[in-house]
Amino acid sequence: MYRITGKTVLATGVVEMTIEAPRVAKAHKPGQFLMVMNREDSERVPLTIADSNPEKGEVTIVFLEVGRSTIELGEEFQVGDDLFAVLGPLGTPTHLDRVGTVVVIGGGLGVAPIYPICKGLREAGNRVVTIIGYRRKDLMFWDDKLRSASDELIVTTDDGSFGMKGFVSDALKKLHDEGRPMDRVVAIGPPIMMRAVAEMTRPWEVPTTVSLNTIMIDGTGMCGGCRVGIGDETRFVCVDGPDFDGHKVHWDEMFARMKVYQREEREAIASSPSCRLYFETLKR
């Protein structure tokens, strides 16, 4: 029912996958995510939708092979295989109002989900300046797609092997120092990077949207496992988010909550043959 129609390894451990899911493709809006179950006894994994094609009835995800389920998805599943379940699109879509100039930041895997957001913001009449960052040149992907979806594209690598040397936050600071217009910032990527961006824009008073990817089970507002403090309230990432005001997120709490199953995840990886093989290959 949910057939894999395309699979590309974009960089070590980064996999792009296209899946047949006509209802999801038709309803998808930028900023939303889906839940994947590889097999009937697999966990439900939330993954951001990176692109959709309603005509073909397909959605694209880009994921990092980081836990047992994503490693098994990337290593064991090929084009033509069926996934047990795909549910979506979930979450509240990103607000795409016209505000002027929007700086959209994608760090690492976050480069994928900002693609539909850049397109949407531009269609709404914004000028879109995009900053994408990778650790090294050989981990780069989708920079051409992002270039086509942006008015201006800045690429950073941590080691300087491509584009500007440094983090995405360094590129953001440079834009600000140059006095460039910045009516809104959207940042998606590792939590540590989103926090760095939010802390940077706070004194500038530039509204900053971040997209959280916390632990969840159902993705529909039922379990509350994804809850996180936002300002004075507790909110559910799955239904109230995943987008939140980066200046209001209780980052320390969120970081702690991301680690709740660390021990169990290590055990799960150790018990999975695909995971062991994957890590052995990585070492070599």
Binding site: R23, E43, T220, G224, K259
Partner: protein
């Protein structure tokens, strides 16, 4: 007929004979797993009657001409008739007869609070106190027997000719399943949408395996599908499809999306790791089967558990914790034993299994360790004051009575409210408190034409049998509406 029952050997009523009820006999206990055994597995605790036991218990029934049990049953199952069938060895007929009134007999036989309903009304209580007919156990027996022994399938059930009307049902819990089954029998085309990857709703994610095996739930779902209901999982109406699209495509829409949004207390420390909503804890274990080592979904094995609340859910959580190996599993409840809303049998089973009750006590804050994991809860003692709106005495804090209970897991089981996804995507839908859908209690019609609602979505969290009843009553109303040339709409007063 494939079923062959030697009724004489079982001590029942032979063909052409008259029944001589043995109502003075004691109610027949049901075999259960021993406490030691069941704490080491997730298998069903109550093992069910054998045919001989079922017939013996059925032989106690007077088959009253004016049965009080039928009146007390929310869906008015013809109890004497189905028990009559059992006492004559017609086990499949018994199940089929129940199905005229209740589409989920294997489920309701297990989880319905019969002790407060049909069995409380049984006339035998008058002469043989505390020995009512074990109606629930007999219901379960006949449904299980049908699943296990009958060649008769749902496709042979009498169905009205196809009407051509299309009805969408949102949510495949007890209300949705019951409504879908009845609408299909009435000849309508029924499309049943489920958000999760398995049908059954709360029967799958909420009620644990040891009270309601998931294979039983799936058999009930398959039965409903065999009636012609088209089930589609992984669809969140309001996200995967706009509600408007469903309204355009179908003649009527029944919202049975349940009460799946967890209530929390809003006290400090509630977002610490190790503090769960009951929904999360139960979903991990029941739906995702985290208790099995080979599945993908993890659960942190609790060692010392504090469960806040004393309803059905709280007892399920406490008993799951003990099966996961908890050394200490404690119910913390702000009222006393008298006011506990849980079912008697569950409370007894929990006590047998070693649950600790800390009553007249309420959490005030959770205390975490340096890594953000809960390590203790600060509680406050309570005393009972004047009765409140629920008729129960209101708990009042006792000054300077706070103390600390150490724990590594807290499960907040203080109730659920309906999900706001459908109301927030349906302009004009009147609700109470933003989530509980308002309907006319006669017609189940909401304030939006074509949209009916029932089950926990209109009441807040209640029981399986009440949801089943709402589903069936709503089906009758929907049937009348789609056939009505004027499509008369009788919404609730707002």
């Amino acid at each position: 007929m494939s079923e062959t029952v030697d009724i004489a050997a079982l001590g029942g009523v032979k063909e052409g004979e008259k029944k001589r009820p043995r109502s003075k006999d004691r109610r027949l206990e049901i075999a259960c797993q021993s406490v030691e055994a069941r704490l080491k597995n997730f298998d069903e605790v109550a093992l069910g009657y054998s045919p001989a036991e079922a017939v013996a218990e059925a032989m106690r029934c007077l088959e009253c001409p004016k049965p009080r049990c039928v009146v007390a049953c929310p869906v008015h199952i013809d109890i004497p008739t189905f028990i009559g069938h059992i006492s004559r060895g017609h086990f499949v007929e018994a199940a089929e007869d129940i199905r005229k009134y209740n589409n989920l007999p294997a489920v309701c036989g297990r989880v319905c609070p019969q002790e407060n309903l049909c069995e409380a009304a049984c006339i035998i209580n008058d002469t043989n106190p505390n020995n009512p007919i074990a109606i629930g156990r007999l219901e379960r027996f006949s449904a299980d027997w049908q699943f296990g022994h009958s060649e008769r399938r749902a496709d042979s059930v009498a169905k009205a000719p196809a009407t051509g009307y299309k009805v969408a049902v949102i949510g495949s819990g007890p209300a949705g399943l019951s409504c879908s089954a009845d609408l299909a029998k009435m000849g309508h085309t029924v499309h049943l949408f489920e958000a999760l990857h398995k049908a059954g709703g709360v029967l799958m994610y909420g009620i644990p395996e040891f009270r309601l095996p998931k294979t039983i739930v799936q058999k009930e779902v398959e039965y409903v599908q065999a009636l012609g209901v088209q089930l589609e999982c992984n669809v969140v109406v309001g996200r995967t499809m706009p509600v408007k699209e469903v309204l355009d495509e179908f003649d009527a829409l029944f919202v049975a999306s349940g009460a799946g949004y967890p209530n929390m207390m809003g006290i400090p420390g509630e977002n610490l790791n190790g503090v769960y909503s009951a929904n999360e804890f139960l979903t991990r274990v029941n739906l995702m089967k985290a208790w099995k080592s080979e599945v993908g979904t993890p659960i942190r094995k609790p060692r010392r558990v504090v469960v806040v609340g004393a309803g059905f859910t709280a007892f399920d959580v406490v008993r799951i914790s003990l099966r996961l190996g908890a050394e200490e599993a404690r119910i913390v409840y702000r009222r006393s034993r008298e006011e506990m809303p849980g079912r008697g049998e569950e409370i007894e089973h929990a006590l047998e299994e070693g649950a600790i009750f800390t009553l007249l006590t309420n959490p005030v804050r959770y205390i975490g360790d340096d890594n953000g994991f809960v390590k203790a809860v600060e509680v406050q003692k309570m005393e009972l004051g004047e009765p409140d709106s629920s008729g129960r005495r209101r708990p009042v804090p006792v000054p300077d009575s706070n103390y600390i209970i150490e724990c590594d897991t807290v499960v907040v089981s203080i109730g659920q409210t309906p999900n706001v996804l459908i109301p927030s995507n349906l302009p004009g839908l009147a609700t109470r408190w933003g989530s509980v859908i308002k309907v006319n209690r006669e017609t189940y019609m909401s304030t939006v034409p074509k949209v009916f609602a029932g089950g926990d979505a209109i009441t807040g969290a209640a029981t399986v049998i009440l949801a089943t009843r709402a589903g069936r009553e709503a089906a009758r109303s929907i049937d009348g509406y789609v056939r009505d040339p004027n499509r008369g709409w009788y919404p609730p007063a707002v």
